[in-house]
């Protein structure tokens, strides 16, 4: 264990000058995004075309290194997961598109159109604008709400288990 400590300490040493702490909120959201891929089915066409399963972040990256750290070595639908930042509203090559707070969602949602892209946001009106899943902070805990219609338009099948865990669905937890 002491050996472990040495390594961790050295790592921490290099951390001081590098990227800011993305905060637990985004580490949790990164874990959610990874988890979502296990409860949602993408149409075969969306999976046949690519070499990787792309989780895109629109505009700016609030995750710091946490999203990459979460996805490294993992797969979804048999494809290796990869994270990247996209700036063009046409993000139809993404499998998941996360639109952070402060980034205007409308152009991205228009760009995605009916392509099989799971759009995830974190703004109060994200679902109303046509997004599929929206993160909500509930007393410091990260929860999410689902717009099933938007997911269906994108040809995505959301498992009933995930639907039940979304806000406003009963019963909560443990089911």
């Amino acid at each position: 264990m002491r050996r472990f400590l040495v390594a961790a300490l050295l790592c921490a040493g290099t951390a001081l000058t590098s990227a800011q702490d993305p905060g637990l909120e985004y580490r949790v959201k990164a874990a959610y995004l990874f988890n979502f891929t296990k409860f949602i089915e993408w149409p075969d066409a969306a999976l046949a075309s690519g070499r990787s399963f792309s989780i895109c972040v629109a505009g700016r990256n609030p995750f710091g290194p946490a999203l990459t750290a979460t996805l490294v070595g993992e797969t979804a639908a048999g494809l290796p997961l990869a994270a990247r930042v996209v700036n063009a509203p046409d993000s139809s090559a993404c499998h998941v598109l996360f639109v952070p707070r402060g980034v205007a969602a409308a152009p991205y949602l228009r760009g995605v159109g009916k392509s099989p892209v799971l759009t995830v946001g974190e703004s109060p009106d994200f679902l109303a604008q046509g997004g599929a899943i929206n993160f909500v902070l509930d007393g410091g805990r990260v929860r999410f709400e689902i717009n099933q219609g938007a997911a269906e338009r994108a040809q995505l099948k959301i498992s009933s288990r995930l639907l039940q865990l979304g806000l406003g669905s009963e019963p909560r937890g443990g089911d």
């Binding site: 290194p65 979460t70 007393g139 443990g174």
Partner: protein, 636 residues
């Protein structure tokens, strides 16, 4: 492999994969987090120990979080009984309407060293700084979680957070949309009913709820009914609405109960509370909360005491980041109490009194080495009408010794401030003579200096252990002095106490559908007198604690949407007055054929026909009977 090789490998990893390891915590945490289920992710948060959301695994305090799901699975009908699920908390029933609840000792039916709150509103009585547990109720289905901290949390939470803090957090009204109807009946609980409707209007969400419960009398040692039946009901609402860049909260609750007694007429107990607040998070590191509430407590115990207390409270709290390494929280609060009493054998002089408390606190959490070492310094100043200014400092440190292991330590001072019961009481003997009088202005606060040390590890996503060692030194504990001139007894501060203990808990999730949680607490107390003390109580009225407690809980989700929950708890003998050791078992089987319907059978105290939990062996010691009830719940 030599340590040098590993160290070099570590450096290489850091250098070559900067995006992955730029932040050591970002490296380790996502690994922990992504192994979690969505349900587990949804639980990450605790607002208590640092008054800021922080994952429980990293909090530098001895803490247990009882989730709403834990409460549902426990099948209990009161908040006090739910607290038995927390590690290291001694919950003992004295009769149907009276509990003794404490952490780290000093348990009595009027235990006064626990700070109890619901959504930040105090729920202990200003009259004696203890909780009337028969008046603390809520729609249990609408409780999000109960955070229980053992040990002093006084810097942030104020006086009375001496031995622990119980923070009950109700669910956001957004999470309680739709209709809930629940009906139950059982041999000891003939009627249980809960109703809730949650809706939305414009951008606001709200809920209204109501509940009613009847409890049958228990029995005395000789098998005769103890005559302590109860009927209690509560109604209330909660509204949440975004506004001003933040969120508004408005909440109101009305409680009423009628509790029977074997030796006198029925007592009446009621509480009304109205609470409002506004909170805004500017960034993840900066927030502002403003909160206020009004609460009225009314109690009438025939032949003993009738009192009502109005409390008005306003609080402000502001948190911000400073120079990158500091997370500062400061706050201030003002509370005004006004009471009226009319006594039987317990009276107060003066009968009516108004008194206020002003407080100011600040805390700085300093990152000494990112992801390695955090230090928290805090100080609370409190001005109260009885003992004047009290200072409550606190220093905490947390060291992440390895990715999934941390140690923490804390030294804190806390004060249990004087109350009307200490200063102004007049207790009458059966013949009407005054038997005891309060200490007046001479009574000081009770002081605690506590040292704590903890270790917490989660070697695998499915297993966690938590260990805490503590030593508490109490000064100026309440005593009962018999003056040289003879009775009456005078309440004073001539006792001192020393407690120490070990609190262990572990949880294991061998399968996704099977969780096991075990806890053990060892506790030792010694109470001594000052040299000039003329105390005749020896602390017997202040503490009656078990040396050993254990709990073992298992929750299994069986096929066919069936849940099986068992909770075994053991409490060793209480010394003075003596209560025999006991082990008891609660069990519940629930079935949820659809998401709209749930039916369950819950049993409490399965191992004995009846057993006592608190109070001396007199013909009037209440024993609690085995109880079984059926509950049906509809949600849509």
């Amino acid at each position: 492999m030599s340590s040098r090789v590993i160290a070099v490998a570590g450096v290489a990893m850091c250098l070559h994969l900067p995006a992955l390891v730029a932040d050591a915590r970002a490296q380790s945490d996502p690994q922990d987090l992504k192994a979690m289920s969505i349900e587990q992710l949804m639980q990450i948060d605790v607002t208590l120990a640092t008054r800021e959301p922080e994952p429980v695994g990293r909090t530098a305090a001895a803490i247990t979080v009882i989730t709403g799901d834990d409460i549902r699975r426990a099948g209990v009908t009161t908040i006090a009984d739910a607290l038995a699920l927390a590690d290291g908390v001694h919950v003992a029933r004295f009769n149907n309407g009276t509990w003794a609840v404490s952490a780290r000792g000093f348990n009595t039916t009027s235990a006064n060293k626990l700070l109890v709150m619901i959504d930040g509103r105090i729920e202990y009585s200003p009259l004696f700084s203890g909780t009337f547990w028969n008046m603390l109720d809520y729609a249990l289905d609408d409780i999000d979680r109960i955070e229980v901290i053992r040990g002093p949390g006084a810097t942030l939470w104020g006086a009375n957070a001496v031995n622990g803090v119980v923070n009950i957090v109700t669910r956001h009204s957004r999470d309680t949309q739709g209709t809930l109807l629940s009906f139950g009946t059982g041999n000891e609980d003939p009627a249980l009913a809960d109703f809730r409707y949650g809706g939305a209007a414009a951008d606001a969400t709200y809920r209204v709820y109501g509940k009613f419960a009847r409890r049958s009398p228990q029995i005395f040692d000789n098998g005769v009914s103890s005559g302590d039946g109860r009927r209690r009901g509560q109604v209330g609402f909660r509204v949440d609405r975004p506004g001003g860049g933040g969120e508004w909260l408005l909440k109101g609750d009305l409680f009423e109960s009628r509790d029977d007694f074997a030796d006198r007429a029925t007592g009446e107990f009621s509480e009304v509370a109205l609470q409002g607040g506004w909170s805004r998070a500017f960034t993840t590191a900066s927030n502002l909360d403003v909160r206020g509430y009004y609460r009225r407590e009314f109690r009438d115990v025939p032949l003993q005491l009738t009192h009502e207390i109005d409390t008005l409270d306003v609080d402000l709290q502001h948190g911000f980041a400073w120079r990158g390494r500091h997370r500062v929280i400061w706050g201030t609060g003002y509370r005004y109490n006004s009471d009226q009493t009319a006594g039987g054998n317990v009276r107060f002089e003066p009968p009516d009194r108004a008194y206020s408390i002003f407080s100011l606190f600040a805390q700085d959490e300093i990152v000494i080495r990112p992801d390695r070492f955090n230090l928290t310094l805090g100080l609370k100043m409190e001005q109260n009408a009885f003992s004047g200014m009290e200072w409550q400092p606190n220093i905490r440190a947390r060291v992440d010794v390895a990715p999934r292991q941390m140690i923490w330590g804390a030294v804190s001072r806390a004060v249990r401030r004087p109350t009307r019961l200490d200063a102004d009481v007049r207790a009458l003997a059966p013949d009407g003579a005054v038997a005891a009088i309060g200490g007046g202005d001479d009574f000081e606060g009770e002081n605690l200096v506590a040292g704590e040390f903890g270790y917490r590890a989660q070697p695998f996503a499915f297993a966690a252990v938590d260990a805490t060692l503590f030593t508490h030194r109490y000064d100026d504990l309440r005593s009962q002095e018999l003056p040289a001139t003879g009775p009456p007894i005078v309440v004073a501060n001539t006792l001192n106490g020393r407690t120490q203990g070990v609190e262990l808990s572990g949880s294991l999730q061998p399968l996704p559908v099977w969780r096991v949680r075990a806890s053990y607490t060892y506790f030792d107390v010694s109470i001594t007198k000052d040299i000039d003390s003329r105390d005749i109580g020896g602390g017997a009225s202040e503490a009656n604690d078990p040396s050993h407690m254990f709990g073992l809980r298992t929750d299994v989700d069986l096929p066919g949407r069936v849940e099986l929950n068992l909770f075994l708890r053991g409490i060793s003998e209480l010394p003075n007055p003596r209560v025999p050791a006991y082990t008891e078992l609660n069990g519940r089987v629930g079935w949820r054929p659809t998401r709209h319907f749930e039916v369950s059978v819950a049993a409490q105290d399965l191992l004995h026909d009846h057993h006592p939990e608190f109070g001396g062996l007199t013909p009037r010691r209440v024993e609690f009977e085995r109880s079984v009830r059926v509950l049906a719940t509809f949600r849509y």
